[in-house]
């Protein structure tokens, strides 16, 4: 029993010694190790696993093999047309040559600072060489997009109200074509930066623009432009509404007049026809004895008209034929 305890104790002590500075070390997945003997690199371990070194003589420096992010400060840069924009870029890189990396930069912090220098200057160079739209846009898809009913103006069920003509300028605008676009600019930055990084044992995988913003003073003027543009659009809609309303009112006026005059025409012709028929009826009857008609009409007319006059009679009318002469006036 005592023997067992002694053996066990020895094992534990041995283990501790091995772990402390012994000949074994572990390289984990995603990592690599540089083995340095008396300040000189003798070996690079890139595969994971249990490795051997000379105890107390070899020093092990471990680096990651994984892809790392580089995140620069956003820079305020002028474009080719001298407009200032904030450009925020990030990059991904990895240590592909641990030996060189150890020789030239040693630490990841150092590497970042080198990358700062390289990438920032490339970004500045490329951005200032190109126009703003090359940096903002990536392709000419903006001109390929079909814009229909941008404002969703189909309000009524029975008819879709068309967009005001004055607004088609906003939907049919052709934007200037770009030649490169953001991806290509990124690629250009990468291609340039890539030339420098191998000396640090670093491979740059990509540089991407994370965000582009206007500088503050530019933002203000862009806001104003946007507001103006919206105001114009709003105005166009309102004017269009007024116009369409006027059209309806005009249409109403026209139809009302046409209805009224049509009715007048019809009414008058009906009346005319009736007048004609009445005339025919009268003529047909009165033709039978015009002389009697004249007498009859006179009598009827006197009956109607005479009560309206102030009257002073002479004895001239035939009525008085028998007044002075019982045989009647001759």
């Amino acid at each position: 029993m005592k023997k067992f305890f002694i053996i066990f104790g020895i094992i534990i002590v041995a283990l501790i010694i091995i772990l402390a500075g012994g000949p074994l070390f572990v390289v984990q997945e995603g990592r690599q190790a540089v083995i340095i003997r008396f300040g000189k690199i003798i070996r690079v371990e890139t595969d994971a696993g249990l490795k051997v070194k000379t105890p107390f003589v070899d020093r092990v420096r471990k680096y990651t093999k994984r892809i790392q992010s580089w995140d620069g400060e956003a820079q305020r840069l002028p474009t080719a047309e001298n407009q200032f924009i904030w450009v925020d870029t990030t990059a991904r890189w990895l240590i592909n040559d641990a030996k060189k990396f150890y020789e030239s930069v040693q630490t990841v912090e150092q590497a970042h600072s080198r990358l700062d220098d390289v990438i920032d200057s490339e970004v500045r160079k490329i951005i200032s060489r190109n126009s703003l739209r090359e940096a903002v846009r990536d392709s000419n898809v903006i001109n390929a997009i079909e814009r229909r009913d941008v404002y969703q103006t189909t309000t009524t069920e029975e008819e879709s109200v068309e967009m005001p003509v004055s607004l088609t300028m906003y939907t049919e605008t052709k934007y200037e074509d770009i030649e490169k676009g953001r991806s290509e600019l990124s690629d250009e930055m990468l291609a340039e930066a890539k030339k420098v990084t191998p000396q640090y044992g670093i491979t740059l995988i990509d540089i991407v623009v994370r965000q582009i913003k206007y500088s503050d003073d530019l933002t203000e003027s862009v806001y104003n432009r946007m507001i103006k543009e919206r105001n114009q659009i709003a105005q166009a809609f309102r004017s269009d509404g007024e116009g369409k309303k006027a059209v309806w009112v005009g249409k109403m006026e026209k139809e009302r007049r046409s209805i009224q005059s049509g009715a007048y025409r019809e009414a008058e012709s009906i009346k005319g026809e009736a007048d004609a028929r009445a005339a025919a009826i009268y003529a047909e009857a009165y033709r039978k004895n015009p002389e009697f008609y004249a007498f009859w009409k006179s009598v009827e007319s006197y009956r109607k008209m005479l009560p309206k006059f102030n009257k002073t009679l002479t004895t001239e009318p035939d009525y008085f034929n028998y007044l002075y002469n019982f045989q009647g006036r001759r």
Binding site: E29, G241, A267, K271, A278, V299, R303
Partner: protein, 325 residues
């Protein structure tokens, strides 16, 4: 060894110390060789830092600590990143952080306008090995790439495309491009959803101007409806009135003809009588008329027809002559 410690060791005995040591070691070995993988997870086991095996959910054993290590990865869980906003506490009524994140959400559009875009992505870890050992700062990488891609896609379109019809397109293309890049980095994830949440013009005056356009559209509908209403009000009324005028005319026509026929009928009857006795009828009609005309109303002055140059005294005064009746 100092005397005090020697005495202590003698009191407890080497045996006791060794027993405790053994106990601790055994406990450590046991604890580090048993592990449970949850249903939502997988675990990668490394032996001396080298990939050994992948453990599915359940109870597992491995060699104790320095020899084998395990890394659990939530492969079944859908993970989420938010851009431009943060969920403070999810729930029935989710609380969002009151803060804005303009550094993520403010973008330039292709027509050089400014727009504020909030979006989320959802992803799952599909390859735990790659997830763990291929890329550092996985979340930061995911965020950076997602942000740059959405920026790029928004920058490629006009502002009203982004706000309106192209939203779907951006989501689809964004998801595809993100997956392509993450595959290139061997990040071991799959983006399952890219969803644009809130796409608005910059807050304040600009947003108000955009709102005003919507109001203008409403105004326009209102004006058009007003026009229609006026039309609908006036035209049926005019039609009714027209109908009335025509009906009126028709009434007139019927009346006119009827009257004519009545007049004629009367005339013809009288004419018939007249033809039978011309002289008598003529005289009768004449005297009847005369009576009727002069019977009514004021008395009539009568003057002999032989009085020449008679000045009617009516104009001289109010006196009356009896006349010669």
């Amino acid at each position: 060894m100092p005397n005090a410690q020697k005495r202590q060791a003698q009191r407890f005995g080497t045996r006791t110390i060794v027993t405790v040591l053994i106990f601790i070691v055994i406990l450590f070995v046991l604890l580090s060789s048993v592990y449970i993988v949850d249903q939502t997870e997988q675990a990668v086991v490394l032996r001396f830092g080298r990939y050994a095996r992948l453990s599915e959910p359940g109870l597992h054993f491995k060699m104790f600590f320095p020899i084998e290590r395990k890394y659990k990865v939530p492969t079944q869980v859908v993970l989420k990143e938010e851009f431009g906003f943060r969920t403070e506490r999810a729930g029935v009524a989710t609380i969002y952080s009151a803060l804005d994140f303009p550094d993520e959400s403010v973008m330039l559009t292709g027509d050089l306008n400014i727009v504020d875009v909030e979006w989320i992505i959802q992803y799952r870890i599909v390859d735990p090995m790659k997830w763990l050992f291929k890329v550092e700062d996985q979340r930061k990488t995911i965020k950076d790439i997602s942000q740059s891609i959405i920026n790029l896609l928004v920058g490629d379109r006009a502002i009203f495309d982004v706000i309106g019809a192209e939203r779907e397109m951006i989501q689809m293309q964004g998801q595809r491009m993100m997956n392509e890049l993450f595959d290139k980095y061997e990040l071991g994830i799959r983006v399952t959803t890219v969803k644009l949440q809130n796409i608005v013009p910059p807050k304040g005056a600009v947003q108000n101007a955009f709102e005003d356009v919507n109001k203008a559209i409403q105004d326009r509908s209102r004006l058009i409806n007003e026009g229609k209403q006026a039309y609908n009000e006036a035209i049926p009324k005019a039609k009714g009135e027209a109908e009335r005028v025509i009906q009126d005319a028709e009434g007139y026509a019927v009346e006119r003809v009827n009257r004519a026929e009545g007049d004629v009928a009367r005339f013809l009857n009288v004419l018939e009588e007249f033809n039978r006795n011309p002289q008598v009828t003529r005289t009768r009609l004449y005297y009847e008329m005369f009576e009727e005309v002069f019977l009514e109303g004021e008395k009539t002055d009568l003057i002999d027809k032989n009085l020449k140059n008679f000045v009617p005294f009516k104009s001289l005064g109010e006196g009356r002559t009896g006349g010669a009746q």
